[in-house]
C-alpha cells in the first residue's frame, strides 16, 4: 500500500516537473537568447548585453515603451478610482434605479471580445472628432480595466463584516466617515491589487490600443506585434525579458498585498 502511494507521488512529481518545464522552456529560451551576442537568433555567439544596448538606443522602441508605461500608469490610476467608486455603489448602494444597467455595463466588457470594445470606441472617437493618441488609448484602457477593479474591490467589500461599519456609526461616525475610517483601510489591499491588475492589463493590450491610437503613437505591444510579423529580432527578446522581469516583480508585491488583505479579513470575521 505504501509503495503505491510512493509511486503515485513520483508520478505526480514527474508530471508537475514536466508541466512547469513546458510552461517555462520557451520563456527560458527567450531570456537566454536575449543575451545572445549573435544577430542570428539561432546561432549562439556568446553572452552579451548587445540587444539591451540596442533597445536603449532605439528611439522609436523607447518612445513606444514610454507611451505604454504612461498609458498604463494613468489608466490604472483612473480605473482604480472609478472602479472603487463603482464597487462601493454596487456593494453598498442596495437597490436603486438603473442598477441592473450599471452592473451590466461593468460586467460586459469582461466577456466582450476586445475587437468590439476597440471598434466601438474608435467609432465614438471618430464621431467626436477626437485626435487619437495618448488620451484616447488611456480612456479606452480605463474603460476596460475599471471593470476588473470593480470586480476585485466589490468582492472584498461584500466579504467585509458589515457590523464593522455599524460599530463605527454607533461610535459617532456618519456613513462617509465610517467608510473613510474603517472600510477604506480594510480594502486598501484589494485596491492595490486592482491597480496592479489594471496596470498589467493595459501594458498587455494590443487590440484595443491598435483601434484607439493614432499615427505616430504606437504602444510597445503594437510595435512588438508589427516587428514580429517581419520575423524574429533579437532586440524583441531583450524587451520581452524586461517585461517578464517587471511582471514577476509586480506579482511578488501583489501576492504580498493580498496575503496582508487575507490576514486582515480573517480577524474581521466573527469568532
Amino acid at each position: 500500500m505504501a509503495r503505491t502511494v510512493t509511486r503515485l507521488t513520483r508520478f505526480n512529481m514527474t508530471s508537475l516537473a514536466a508541466g512547469l518545464a513546458f510552461l517555462y522552456l520557451p520563456i527560458v529560451i527567450l531570456v537566454i537568447y536575449s543575451f545572445n551576442a549573435s544577430r542570428l537568433v539561432t546561432v549562439w555567439g556568446g553572452w552579451s548585453l548587445r540587444w539591451y544596448h540596442e533597445f536603449f538606443n532605439d528611439r522609436a522602441m523607447l518612445e513606444a515603451a514610454w507611451m505604454s508605461l504612461s498609458v498604463a500608469a494613468v489608466s490604472a490610476t483612473l480605473a482604480t478610482l472609478l472602479g472603487t467608486l463603482a464597487a462601493v455603489g454596487l456593494a453598498r448602494g442596495e437597490r436603486f434605479r438603473g442598477r441592473a444597467l450599471f452592473s451590466g455595463m461593468l460586467y460586459s466588457p469582461l466577456v466582450m471580445p476586445e475587437v468590439i470594445s476597440g471598434l466601438s470606441l474608435l467609432l465614438l472617437f471618430v464621431a467626436l472628432n477626437a485626435e487619437r493618441g495618448f488620451w484616447t488609448v488611456t480612456i479606452a484602457h480605463t474603460t476596460l480595466t475599471m471593470c476588473f477593479v470593480t470586480v476585485v474591490v466589490q468582492s472584498r467589500l461584500s466579504a467585509l463584516d458589515r457590523s464593522l461599519e455599524e460599530a463605527a456609526m454607533d461610535l459617532g461616525c456618519d456613513p462617509v466617515r465610517a467608510f473613510l475610517l474603517v472600510t477604506l483601510p480594510l480594502i486598501v489591499p484589494a485596491i492595490v491589487a486592482g491597480w496592479m491588475l489594471a496596470f498589467t492589463l493595459s501594458l498587455d493590450d494590443v487590440v484595443i490600443a491598435s483601434f484607439t491610437t493614432g499615427p505616430g503613437s504606437a504602444t510597445l505591444p503594437i510595435r512588438i506585434y508589427s516587428e514580429v510579423r517581419l520575423g524574429v529580432k533579437p532586440e524583441i527578446n531583450a524587451i520581452c525579458t524586461l517585461a517578464i522581469a517587471l511582471i514577476a516583480v509586480i506579482i511578488v508585491v501583489a501576492s504580498f498585498a493580498s496575503k496582508l488583505s487575507n490576514a486582515r479579513g480573517e480577524s474581521a470575521a466573527p469568532l
Binding site: 463584516d161 457590523s163 464593522l164 455599524e166 460599530a167 463605527a168 456609526m169 454607533d170 461610535l171 459617532g172 461616525c173 456618519d174 466617515r177 475610517l181 474603517v182 483601510p185 480594510l186 490576514a263 486582515r264 480573517e266 480577524s267 474581521a268 470575521a269 466573527p270 469568532l271
Partner: protein, 366 residues
C-alpha cells in the same frame, strides 16, 4: 418617568412582522434582559434602540425625547456587538479611543479615559496589540471597553457572551454585573440563554413572535410564568392538561387525564377558563418509597402519584428522575444531591410515590 420608554413600536421586514406594537419601560440604572428564542424580534428591538433600524410605528423616548428617527451616530446610546466588531486595523487603544475622537474630546482627556477603561476591563499591557493578537475573552473586554468609553446613557449588549466558552462565560457574567453596579449605568442585554438572563438581569422581558409576553423579575418569571409557553421556555416543567372540576377556598381541583385529580392553589388573577394546564417544576416533585400522611381539607393538600422510576440521570449537583405513571405519562423530578453517599437514591425500575403540594403547582390557561 423611566429613562427609556418604548411606546407601541412596530417593525416589519416585508411581510414578516419582527416587532409587533411593543411597549416597555426601562428605569435608569437597571440591568434588563430581553430573552426569547431566535427570530422572536429581540435583536430587531435592540437594533432599533441603537438606531440601526427605524420603527415603522411608535416612539422611543430616551430621557423624555423621541429618538426613534435619530441616526445611530447621534444617539447617546452605545452597543456591544455579538461578534464584537473590533476594528482589525486598529490597536486596542485606538479601538477604545475611536468613539472619543469622534466626540471631539481633547487628546489628554482621551488618554485618561482610555487608561481608565483599560484598567476597568483589566487589559493593562495589551494596549498596543491588534485584535487578532488577542484571545476571545480579551477581545470581548476590548469590545466592552470601547462601548463603555463614551459613557452612554444606555449600553446595549447583543449576546455579549455567546462566543465565550462555558467557564469564561460564567466568570464574565459576574464581572459584567459588578461593572454595571459600579458604574450605575443602564444595561439592556439580548440573549437566548435563560440562565444568563436570570443570573445577570434585575428584570427580564420575554419575547415571542415580536411581542413582549411577560416582564418580570427572574424569580417571578420562573415561579409564576404568565403562560404555558413561558413556563415551558424558561426551565423544565411537567404539564398536565385537564378541566377545572371544583373551586373552593382559593383552591382548584383539576381533573387531568394523565395524572388523575390534582389540587392546585389558585393564583391572582384567577383563571377564567375551565380548560387549563397544571404545571409543576421537577425540583418541586418529591419522591418517596411510601406515601406521605395526608391532610385532607387542610392547607397543605398533597398530590400523590404512583409510578415506576424509568431512568435516573446523575448530573453532579442534582439527580433527575423520570417516573412513569400508571397512565403511561412521564413525570420528571429532580433532587439535590445533598450528601456525598446517598444510600437512599432511587434505582430504575423501583416503585415510588411522587408527591407535591398544591402550593407548588401552577394552573395555567391555554
Amino acid at each position: 418617568m423611566p429613562l427609556l420608554r418604548i411606546e407601541g413600536v412596530a417593525k416589519s421586514f416585508g411581510n414578516f412582522r419582527a416587532v409587533d406594537k411593543l411597549s416597555l419601560d426601562i428605569r435608569a440604572g437597571e440591568f434588563f434582559a430581553l430573552l426569547g428564542p431566535s427570530g422572536c424580534g429581540k435583536t430587531t428591538l435592540l437594533r432599533m434602540l441603537a438606531g440601526f433600524e427605524t420603527p415603522d410605528e411608535g416612539r422611543i423616548l430616551l430621557g423624555g425625547s423621541d429618538i426613534a428617527q435619530v441616526l445611530p451616530h447621534e444617539r447617546p446610546v452605545n452597543m456591544m456587538f455579538q461578534n464584537y466588531a473590533l476594528f482589525p486595523h486598529l490597536s486596542v487603544r485606538d479601538n477604545i479611543a475611536f468613539g472619543l475622537k469622534r466626540a471631539g474630546m481633547a487628546r489628554r482627556d482621551i488618554a485618561t479615559r482610555v487608561a481608565e477603561m483599560v484598567a476597568l476591563v483589566k487589559l493593562e499591557g495589551l494596549e498596543k496589540r491588534k485584535p487578532d493578537q488577542l484571545s476571545g475573552g480579551q477581545r470581548q473586554r476590548v469590545a466592552l471597553a470601547r462601548s463603555l468609553a463614551r459613557r452612554p446613557q444606555v449600553l446595549l449588549l447583543d449576546e455579549p457572551l455567546a462566543a465565550l466558552d462555558k467557564k469564561l462565560r460564567e466568570s464574565t457574567q459576574g464581572e459584567l454585573m459588578e461593572l454595571q453596579r459600579r458604574l450605575g449605568m443602564t444595561f439592556i442585554i439580548v440573549t437566548h440563554d435563560q440562565e444568563e438572563a436570570m443570573t445577570m438581569a434585575g428584570r427580564i422581558g420575554v419575547m415571542d413572535a415580536g411581542r413582549l409576553v411577560q416582564v418580570a423579575t427572574p424569580r417571578n418569571l420562573y415561579e409564576a410564568p404568565a403562560s404555558r409557553w413561558i413556563a415551558e421556555f424558561v426551565g423544565d416543567i411537567n404539564l398536565f392538561h385537564g378541566q377545572v372540576a371544583a373551586r373552593a377556598n382559593g383552591r382548584l381541583t383539576v381533573a387531568t387525564a394523565e395524572a388523575g385529580t390534582l389540587a392546585v392553589s389558585e393564583l391572582w388573577p384567577p383563571v377564567t377558563k375551565d380548560v387549563v394546564s397544571v404545571a409543576i417544576r421537577p425540583e418541586k416533585v418529591k419522591l418517596s418509597r411510601r406515601a406521605p400522611a395526608t391532610d385532607e381539607g387542610g392547607t397543605h393538600a398533597i398530590n400523590r402519584l404512583e409510578g415506576v422510576v424509568a431512568d435516573v440521570n446523575y448530573l453532579g449537583g442534582v439527580t433527575s428522575y423520570r417516573v412513569k405513571l400508571e397512565t403511561g405519562a412521564v413525570l420528571r423530578a429532580s433532587m439535590a444531591n445533598t450528601a456525598r453517599l446517598d444510600v437512599d437514591a432511587y434505582l430504575a425500575g423501583q416503585r415510588v410515590v411522587a408527591w407535591f403540594t398544591a402550593d407548588d403547582c401552577l394552573v395555567l390557561e391555554q
